[in-house]
């Protein structure tokens, strides 16, 4: 009994510890998100939330659904692999609402050289030109049709 009386104060400290711990467990129970641990050590609901972010590029197939004529032209030419929005920019809003959202007009002077300006760093088999000498200041689309750029037979588009 004497031993207990003289070490009972240690239990007081232990009790303090225990109270804090129980309090911690209670708070933890309420604040940890419900879906935490659903798939692993993270909030499972985060996956759906991230998947729900809005898209800005509609995607090639969306464009082709309506613009069948251009899609056909493009598919037959050198730019078959270049998706529409690669030049026209993000147009998901246009796809969702074709009447009210119109794509901006493009400037071929900027656009074409982004890819086709000559540089020793580019793969050798990629078509590239020193734009100034190549066209003598003429706009690219004077000769090349952007949707099917190869100059066939006659030359002009």
């Amino acid at each position: 009994m004497k031993t207990f009386r003289d070490s009972e104060h240690l239990l007081r400290f232990a009790l303090l510890f225990a109270i804090v711990f129980v309090l911690f467990l209670v708070v933890r129970h309420f604040v940890v998100p419900r879906s935490f641990g659903e798939y692993g050590h993270y909030r499972g609901a985060a996956i759906a939330e991230i998947a729900a972010r809005p898209i800005h590029f509609a995607g090639q197939s969306a464009c082709e659904t309506c613009h069948t004529d251009i899609a056909a032209t493009k598919k037959a030419g050198m730019h078959a692999g270049v998706h529409c929005e690669a030049c026209h920019g993000p147009l998901a809003s246009h796809a969702a609402n074709p009447a009210s959202v119109q794509p901006p007009k493009l400037d071929t002077a900027v656009l074409c050289v982004r890819c086709h300006a000559a540089s020793a760093a580019k793969p050798k088999n990629f078509p590239q030109v020193a734009a100034a000498q190549h066209s003598g200041g003429l706009a690219c689309e004077t000769c090349h049709h952007p949707h099917s750029p190869a100059i066939q037979g006659g030359g002009a588009k």
């Binding site: 998947a51 692999g81 929005e85 982004r114 020793a120 760093a121």
Partner: protein, 244 residues
Amino acid sequence: MTLSRRQFLVLVPAAAAAWQYVLAGTPQDAPNYQLTDHWWGMLLDITKCIGCGNCVRACQAENDVPDEYFRTWVERYLRTDWDLTTPEVISPDGGKEGFPTAEEVKNGMYFFVPKMCNHCADSPCTQVCPVGATFITPDGVVLIDQTYCLGCAYCVQACPYGCRYIHPTKHVADKCTLCYHRITKGLTTACCENCPTGARQLVDLKNPNDPIHAFLKTHDVHVLKPEMATGAKAFYNGLDGSVR
């Protein structure tokens, strides 16, 4: 109502269904996507990259990436014949506006290397996150739960590839999501969608019909820093030994 009919026609069926749910605000109900049916990665073909910066711009447009930070960027290497391990590398503004014209070099070669999150299967960044705010999904994409992230930047330090940053206004970790909001709706990533040469291809290793399987049989494909043993899933075709 021709408008609404066109609106409907605009979309291919799978993405259409998903997108209708996006527009309705309940994408979690989007059909046809099973987490366990996919294992995503990316194929980056150095032999095709022209350094136009389309991917960088597309990524910024799609994901609202802050200026001077990059979820994807393009590097231009100049590797001389005299030192195969110490290349000269530039990436002006992440290659967003392309690169300066390069003159032919005699004893050396140029090439472009697009970089992005490698969506590592054994990623060091998710390992060190103290709270479980970054993780790899069952379909193999490393994501960040930005409502849960502390912004401690430990993951930024742990990434061997420099793919992470702390968002300057959100104050949480940020990086490539492999356009998770797109690939789960049947679309490809913004960078792949906009790559004019096909140098970037989204890869689903669990899809037996994915062209990656045939590609891997016939090409020399490597990952970055294999010595880091991260299980990187950004596969590089034509990777030079000097690339880091």
